[in-house]
């Protein structure tokens, strides 16, 4: 705004005009008085003689406007004529801008919701997530007793609330469905400053244990129920009746980004939570008091954390930590590093395309020098010439912005089509007003930088004083820009090679079982329908019997979960005991476990390393056997043989009967947790609500799907099932690394292309500006090879300087990308060397053609020209 006022004063000094006219009137009045007129008459006479002052002011303004519009049109005409004369230059510049601006805009639209856009809660920047870290869970959590103490003793939060980790529940609203449910404290929504779109929030009284159940529904869920008068009606939730008191706004998202359809009061029983052995698991969120930042809050809470550490299971206490972080950091977790990396990479690319355009325009302005010098000599002001180039820049900027946005939309569409699961909240990315503003801002910035550097360069007085060619001073500017470009593209190139290497490692990493031809059928039953153990066991046994009919026993198995997912069941190693002793194991960490049928290892092709695996006979009677993974056997027993030893995992002592190979069980990227296997017993005590049958077959997933549906429907037609081919599932787990590698490679290719074009341009220009010298050398007997060497000597040092700069940059930035790589050290010398070699090869190729072209000078012609 201040700039605007300044511009206005500078170009339309209305106050000056008015003052000038007022002075005129005053002088006329004085004159009239001197002629003997009375004051009143002197004034009216003066005004009469002057005429309409407002109209005079307007006419003066018109003079200035007319001039501006006139000159603007002139500039436009100049520019358009110039473009028509050099269509290739014009199109190259536009394509370069489109590439840079489009890529930057697309990436910005990806990372904006994660990094910059305000959270969907009022004053969201004050919201924090806090709790313990420990081997129990990947995100921070709180234990019931600690929560109460923290809540009572904290001084830094203006609101503090908790919820039970979200789960699913059976809801009956017109028809039975299983939906995500959240058990939250009464002040949960209030902490986030969210108000129900209809109805009301929970009351404190409704949150006390034993109070009549109430519920708040999500907008989506309320809509599918389709009933307008839903507030006040009664729904059935896990078999109990709850009164609907409110509907959430449609924009509501849970703080940990999960979906939720039904919120219920947690009705925490404080007395029970304070009991010594209570292990209630909570997620806690708070709102910082004004003036308290995250760091200060963390410091203030640390003593409280230390104090409550005694609530933590003793065996795990040494591994407990404390986290208090902004809700945004909690939400984006590991996507944060990737987001910043992409943003940085794409800004590099934008800088590079700007540099290229600058280089192109520099070459152009070199050719224009004569024209400018002549116009200056004819009386055009510097200002006028600057404005001419300003007009040109703005034209480039607006065309670049428009093309860039179109390109960004195209990029975004193709990205989400290629890897839908490749980026956190990719579905939320779109080119909206905010993103457009970003695009316009960077385009203008880009265009102004790009336009002003060549012009300022051109308007240096010593260049303009003479209009002859002979003074073509070799400026270092373009070579320096060239070095910068090479450095940027080397950085991107080595980065993308690292990501490709990482992706290759991932794709070739062994999951520990053979996923080919494996098809999994997962069945979920509802708690409400199968609450009696006997009924549940009957269902599971019948399911297994029917599904096993298809294939021989060695090709079929049932488990409660399949690798590479894990953490569905896990217990801290410290909660396992060995050989009758109740001394906790010390090594720490989590241990995964699964319940499997005897055929599991054969079907999955998990090798048996020693001992034996389960048999069908062991499935009745008392559970007695356990199978360990290699890693767990070594973790507990070291080099001793585990066979025949006994371990306790919460259900009596079990004999270790065998050791099998390790499988991936924390996703493909993370190192595996140790694992043990228990037998799926026939009596159904440990059978959960989920069963996954796995078939090794060459039949298609569709055929299996059809057949399995029929079998399950024969037992209970209300039970849904999902069928998935394991190879596909494994591939989809690599979506994120593949996405990163894909984008980084695309960016690197674009960068290398830009660098090559830039290099080509610079070499052509240098060769052209030394044409006479080259001709002279040729006339004096220099061979073609000599001439090429002369030209290359001009750029080679700069190429090498750029390479060195790029290597330095790579060494500086590598520690930021290490967390994103799988099994690759970021300082991988081989990859860096490969990147440098590629870059130099491309540089040589880009120089070659223009150098050879220039070396073909005919000395006679060149010399004659001068």
């Amino acid at each position: 705004m201040r700039l605007f006022a300044w511009l206005r004063r500078r170009f339309f000094p209305q106050d000056d005009w008015r003052e000038e006219m007022e002075a005129h009137l005053e002088m006329r009045k004085a004159w009239n008085r001197d002629c003997g007129m009375p004051d009143v008459l002197a004034d009216t006479e003066a005004r009469k003689k002057f005429g309409n002052q407002t109209r005079a002011l307007e006419s003066v303004r018109d003079v200035y406007w007319a001039r501006w519009i006139d000159e603007g049109l002139q500039d436009l005409r100049h520019t358009l004529r110039d473009w028509r004369r050099h269509p290739n230059l014009f199109l190259t510049i536009l394509a370069t801008l489109m590439l840079g601006i489009g890529a930057a805009t697309a990436i910005f639209s990806l990372v904006d919701p994660l990094l910059f856009r305000p959270l969907p809660y009022p004053h969201g920047e004050r919201l924090v997530s806090l709790g313990y870290t420990g081997p129990i869970d990947t995100s921070e959590f709180l234990l019931g007793g600690s929560y109460l103490t923290w809540r009572d003793e904290q001084q830094v939060l203006s609101a503090f609330t908790a919820m039970r980790p979200a789960g699913e529940c059976d809801v009956n609203l017109n028809r039975p469905v299983r939906v995500p449910c959240g058990l939250v404290e009464w002040n949960f929504l209030r902490t986030f400053e969210i108000f129900p779109a209809a109805g009301r929030d929970f009351l404190k009284a409704e949150d006390s244990p034993g109070a009549p159940l109430t519920a708040i529904l999500s907008h989506r869920f309320a809509e599918t129920a389709g009933d307008r008068g839903i507030v006040g009606s009664v729904v059935e939730v896990d078999g109990s009746k709850a009164r609907v008191v409110g509907i959430l706004p449609s924009t509501f998202v849970m703080p940990q980004l999960g979906e939720v359809d039904v919120l219920l009061p947690a009705q925490l029983n404080e007395a029970a939570m304070r009991a010594p052995n209570a292990t209630m698991f909570l997620r806690a969120f708070g709102r910082l008091k004004p003036g308290v930042n995250v760091r200060a809050a963390r410091e203030a809470m640390t003593p409280v954390f230390r104090k409550t550490l005694q609530d933590f299971p003793r065996s795990l206490r040494s591994e407990a930590g404390f986290v208090l972080r902004s809700l945004r950091d909690r939400q984006i977790e590991e996507a944060k590093a990737a987001s910043w990396l992409l943003m940085l990479a794409v800004l590099f690319l934008l800088a590079m395309s700007s540099v290229n355009v600058i280089n192109l325009l520099l070459a152009r302005s070199e050719a224009r020098r004569e024209e400018f010098a002549m116009r200056l000599a004819l009386g055009a002001g510097y200002w006028r010439l600057l404005r001419q180039s300003f007009t040109e820049s703005v034209l480039y900027g607006s065309l670049g912005a428009a093309l860039g946005m179109a390109f960004a939309i195209f990029l975004l569409r193709s990205l989400s089509a290629m890897a839908a699961g490749g980026f956190l909240r990719l579905e939320a990315a779109r080119v909206d007003g905010r993103v457009m503003m970003f695009a316009v801002a960077i385009s203008l910035l880009c265009a102004l930088t790009v336009g002003s550097i060549p012009t300022l360069h051109l308007l240096r007085p010593e260049l303009l004083r003479t209009w002859t060619h002979a003074t073509a001073r070799r400026s270092r500017l373009r070579q320096m820009l060239l070095s910068l470009q090479i450095a940027f593209s080397l950085l991107l190139l080595s980065g993308s090679l690292l990501f490709m290497r990482s992706l290759l490692n991932l794709e070739s990493s062994k999951p520990g079982f053979a996923p080919e031809n494996l098809i999994a059928v997962t069945v979920n039953v509802t708690h409400a329908r199968y609450s009696q153990p006997a009924k549940l066991a009957a269902f599971h046994n019948e399911l297994e019997r029917r599904l096993s009919l298809l294939l021989p026993a060695r090709l079929f198995a049932v488990a409660d979960s399949l690798p590479p997912s894990g953490r569905t069941h896990g217990r801290p190693l410290a909660n396992m005991f060995v050989d009758g002793s109740h001394e906790p194991l010390k090594n720490g960490g989590m241990v995964a476990f699964r319940y499997v049928t005897p055929g599991y290892f054969k079907t999955m092709k998990i090798p048996v390393l020693s001992g034996t695996v389960f048999s069908e006979e062991q499935r009745v009677g008392k559970e007695s056997a356990v199978v360990l993974s290699d890693a767990l056997a070594r973790r507990i027993f070291g080099r001793e043989s585990p066979l025949g030893r006994r371990i306790e995992v919460g259900s009596g002592w079990l004999n270790v009967i065998g050791v099998v190979g390790d499988v991936k069980n924390s996703g493909l990227e993370k190192p595996s947790d140790p694992e043990y296997y228990r037998l799926r017993m026939r009596d159904g005590i440990q059978l959960g609500y989920t069963a996954t049958a796995v078939f090794r077959t060459t039949m298609s997933a569709v055929a299996i799907d059809r057949w399995a549906k029929k079998q399950v429907a024969a037992i209970d037609p209300t039970v849904p099932l999902q069928v998935v081919a394991l190879p596909e599932r494994l591939r989809s787990l690599n979506d994120r690394p593949r996405f990163l590698a894909l984008i980084m490679t695309t960016l690197a290719l674009a960068a290398v292309l830009l660098a090559a074009v830039g290099l080509y341009g610079v070499v052509s220009f240098l060769a052209a500006s030394r044409k006479r010298e080259l001709g002279l050398r040729a006339a004096l007997g220099a061979s073609r090879k000599n001439l090429i060497a002369v030209i290359e000597k001009d750029v080679l040092p700069w190429v090498l300087a750029g390479t060195a700069l790029g290597v330095g940059g790579e060494l500086l930035t590598q520690r930021y990308i290490r967390s994103l790589l799988f099994d690759v050290s970021a300082a991988d010398v081989k990859i860096l060397a490969l990147a440098v070699a590629l870059m130099l090869l491309i540089a040589v190729l880009a120089c070659w053609r223009p150098a050879v072209h220039a070396s073909k000078v005919d000395p006679a012609i060149t010399l004659r020209v001068e």
């Binding site: 000056d16 005009w17 003052e19 000038e20 006219m21 002075a23 005129h24 005053e26 002088m27 006329r28 004085a30 004159w31 003689k49 002057f50 005429g51 309409n52 002052q53 109209r55 005079a56 006419s59 003066v60 018109d62 003079v63 200035y64 007319a66 001039r67």
Partner: protein
């Protein structure tokens, strides 16, 4: 500026240039000079001087600068530039020959 006031604007421009050729002056001084020199035959609407002055300033025929008059009043003083001098010579000659021609035509009868 539109073409329709060409003759008039041209005349006004000539009068202003001529007035400034004698001495640098402000708008009021120019108006006074024209009035006095024409012995009251030419009276201009004084407000219309200013668009003309600003246009001529932008065309670099005259140069304006703020200064203080003898009775301590801030006023914008205009000076003729070299370009203005040249323009004056051209249009003065043109006008004189036009006027001569027109008067000859008027006297012929």
């Amino acid at each position: 500026m539109g073409r329709r006031t060409d003759t008039l604007a041209g005349t006004l421009e000539l009068l202003i240039l001529k007035a400034l050729a004698r001495t640098p002056n402000h708008g009021f001084g120019i108006a006074l000079h024209i009035e006095g020199a024409s012995e009251g035959l030419l009276t201009i609407e004084e407000g219309s001087l200013y668009p003309a002055l600003h246009r001529m300033e932008r065309e670099k025929l005259i140069r304006g600068s703020w200064s203080v008059t003898e009775n301590a009043r801030r006023a914008k003083l205009y000076t003729l530039t070299t370009a203005g001098q040249k323009r004056l010579e051209v249009i003065e000659a043109h006008w004189l020959s036009t006027a001569k021609g027109v008067s000859k035509v008027l006297r012929f009868a």
